[in-house]
Amino acid sequence: MFALLAVEIPYWGQSLLRVLGGLVAVLLPAGTIVYLFLFKMMSFMQSRLGPMEAGPYGSLQLVAEVGKWLQKEDIQPESADKPIFKMAPIVVLMSTFLLVVVVPFGPDAWFTDFETGVFYALAVSSISVLGILMAGWSSANKYSLLGGLRAAGQLIAYELPMVLAVMGVVIQAGTMNLQQIVFAQNASSMFGFDGVGNPYVLTQFVGFVVFMIAIQAELTQAPFDMPIAESELVSGYMTEYSGFRFLIFFIGEFATAGVFAMIASTLFLGGWGIPFAWFGWTSMDDVSNWMNIAGPIIVITKMLVLTFLIMWVRFTYPRFREDQLQRFAWKVLIPVSLANIMATAVLKVAF
């Protein structure tokens, strides 16, 4: 990662840079998503303008909101289990930070290069369930408890289709390393035509749809937002949180949306890469250095496209009921993704 800087950086410096990079990679997309989609796109879909006063065209609204939340009193319910109550938001945000670690941003711009990156990402993403359960249980509130339990049931149910959907990609790429998956998508060709590489959104379309639905549920966005369900459970597991603890949940929600969209773009849209055939690159070493700068921009662009989809669905659909959601996961998504795996495997062997 630091080869392009051509300077020797001590280990602590590298670690510091990594932490800073991680913070930027989590918070910048989160802020962008909140401003672009939550504030502006939602408003435009409802024929209004959204925040306009803070900064030019309301662009500093998020800063103002953060300032507001930081000033608020830190309220904890009297009968809450205080240590767990305080820990829950941090656990939720932690899973986001752990998740961003495996996302590659360029040929050399990555935090870690895991051989089993996909496996790690899917494993780490379920830590947030723990945080949500902790929040729901420790709040000492019936609504929170219901929300936490719903969240647990839902997230566990949707973990499975997500894993199964990714399986197709893994079979096709032949690796679990995200960097290699990016390479496999951009360097290969489809039926002899290499103009667009081979983004798996085309060949693994079923897997892509299942994965997007599963992350929609994983992020608890409508139509799968029953754990939050503000009209039923007030705010579900977040009901008792205020001030900066709520802020952490809030950042966690949208940062996770961003990071999941990044992973989806890495798995299905070719990640940081653009079709290598355009520049005549054939191996990982051929990729020129400027991709380290362009890569993050490309990833963020693809992420924004995917978050647009997520948010668009969120602002349009009403929510499912809990049992309907479980039925949908077990009776539709899982069989479909299993069939997808089978078809992929057969075709992989055939070609």
Partner: protein, 162 residues
């Protein structure tokens, strides 16, 4: 066939609204910067034409929540004709309306027999403190300037007006 369209069409509606907002602007108004003009008949605030008021107390008595306070004293005015008796007139000391209580029903404006009370569409008189909403006769008279002419009536209306 029947499964997909409902969901997709819904997405189309939100996307269409977004595009329309981009193109034609929003339906909302950025309030302090641009203002909508309320209709002529809008019941914004009650204005008082002091000269017409005879402090007959009709408005005060007909108010459903008794938010009009009137005080007056009697004075002798010079007679109209030479050698006549001096007239007795009511001098208005106090005419307050408590807008914190007012229900904006307009009964006082209607019952006033001397056309001393009028509706004005003026609406920007909110106060940070509820007690400051008690407005006295000078303030009420200032609003007289904002009172518009009564609107033309729709076709078919009975033209003779009171």
């Amino acid at each position: 066939m029947a499964k997909v369209p409902g969901l997709i069409k819904g997405l189309g509606i939100t996307f269409g609204t977004m595009m329309r907002t981009f193109k034609n602007g929003s339906n909302t108004v950025q309030y302090p910067h641009e203002k909508e003009t309320p209709p002529i008949r809008a019941r914004g605030v009650i204005a008082l034409h002091q000269d017409n008021c005879t402090s007959c107390m009709l408005c005060s008595r007909s108010c459903p929540d008794w938010c009009i306070y009137i005080e007056a004293h009697k004075e002798l005015a010079p007679p109209r004709r030479e050698g006549g008796k001096p007239r007795q007139v009511n001098m208005l000391d106090r005419f307050d309306i408590d807008y914190a209580l007012c229900m904006y029903c307009g009964i006082c404006v209607e019952v006033c027999p001397f056309d001393a009370l009028f509706w004005s569409p003026e609406y920007e008189y909110s106060e940070p403190n509820i007690t400051d909403l008690l407005h006295d006769k000078t303030k009420l008279s200032e609003w007289m300037e904002t009172v518009p002419e009564a609107p033309e009536l729709e076709v078919g209306a009975d033209k003779k007006k009171k």
